[in-house]
């Protein structure tokens, strides 16, 4: 299955965590700015033949990421169409936090949304705002499937983190919070430092299994959403 990971966060962390040269790459924000830019010039192949990247790009900046929702919707739609036309079957858009500006426009073009949520009290308090934001976007994109919330940076050895996770599971309907939770683990820092996917590190088996579990849940929820719709 041909998959494209797109860095739609102006911070550019996807590219920066993988290659130093990615800072020089044209990317998603350049596509938004330049109607004449071909997607083929943005796609960066990886060692996996079915997996490619698009960096955030040179035009990315924090100002572009915020601002008025809707400004980049038409170009975001063009981007999605172009991705499909280039034969990609799955396009993963990594957006900045917050449901406004480019992030809102991107989600308004997507089929499904997965919401990572840090397992800490402050993050859980922001959940109502997040839900309201998704409702607004769903007005624009009624087809949007909300796959659910994934707890991230969970620290089982920290009472506050553990209780925040528990509180979120109590707060949201059953099925909205993924069973799989991403733990806070030094191995992610190591992977980031080396610029490698966590799964290929020597001690990365457990981390890899977590993401395999997440993938499996996503597939199940996605299939279920298609059946129900």
């Amino acid at each position: 299955m041909r998959t494209l990971l797109v860095d739609a966060d102006p911070q550019g962390s996807v590219g920066l965590s993988l290659t130093r040269q990615s800072r020089m790459l044209p990317g998603f924000y350049d596509f938004l700015e330049d109607p004449g830019l071909d997607l083929a010039k943005l796609v960066v192949p990886t060692r996996m033949p079915t997996f490619s990247l698009v960096a955030a790009g040179q035009a990315s900046n924090y100002e572009a990421g915020g601002g008025l929702a809707g400004t980049h919707l038409a170009r975001s739609r063009s981007f999605m169409r172009s991705v499909a036309a280039h034969g990609f079957q799955v396009c993963l858009m990594d957006t900045a936090a917050g449901l406004f500006g480019v992030t809102a426009d991107v989600i308004a073009c997507c089929d499904a949304a997965l919401i990572p949520q840090q397992s800490e009290p402050l993050g859980v308090r922001s959940v109502p705002k997040m839900l309201e934001g998704l409702h607004r976007i769903r007005v624009l994109n009624p087809r949007l499937v909300v796959l659910g919330v994934v707890l991230t940076m969970v620290q089982d050895d920290l009472t506050e983190s553990r209780e925040a996770a528990q509180a979120l599971r109590q707060l949201l309907p059953e099925g909205m919070v993924f069973q799989t939770a991403i733990p806070r683990d030094g191995i992610y820092v190591k992977a980031s430092a080396k610029g490698l996917p966590v799964g290929i590190l020597e001690d990365g088996d457990i981390a890899q299994s977590v993401f395999d579990s997440l993938r499996s849940e996503v597939e199940t929820k996605w299939e279920k959403s298609n059946i129900l719709a």
């Binding site: 739609r77 109502p128 624009l140 009624p142 087809r143 925040a164």
Partner: protein, 192 residues
Amino acid sequence: MGKIEHSRLMDPIESWVDPQEVKRLAEALMNPVARANAPSDDATYSKHFVGFAEARDHTQLPANNGRAPSQTVPVGAQGDRSQQLKNFREALPSPIPYKGFFALQSEAQVIYDDGEHQHLYFVARDWIKTRNSSSHQHVQLRIGSSDFLEMISCQTHDGIVVLAFIVSRALASDELARITRSLPTFLSGSST
């Protein structure tokens, strides 16, 4: 510090959220919209408004933009304001290709709507938030193949009022000027 009961949310969260409201919002999101009823990918410009093509920002409008005349009378209850805005809308010059109108106060509260434009409120609110940090007085957004949303910020006695017009073509500068010039007269309670 009391022991946390499993049946209750933890204290650092409980006081910040309304569990019933959160559950209601979340459950609504978990219910898929029937694909058959949802707009197709090409329904970008359906009546449900699903797209902008461009946004233009103008920082300068006429010098008397929204400035209330000296003989104005105090604006009272919101009902008065609503009626005043209704009068204002009905008196819009006919060449202006207006299809709908709503207005918000600077706090983003909707104070008038001549139709059902709830789906556009968040756009206006986003702009209000954005323009608080800038001097922009007008923004124009394409919301359909032949629909534009023109938002104009006007200073009034009671603070900023944002006028939002749904129009079938982009408004020219002189039309914007006429609109902004006429508003204070209606908000003052006098007629033109």
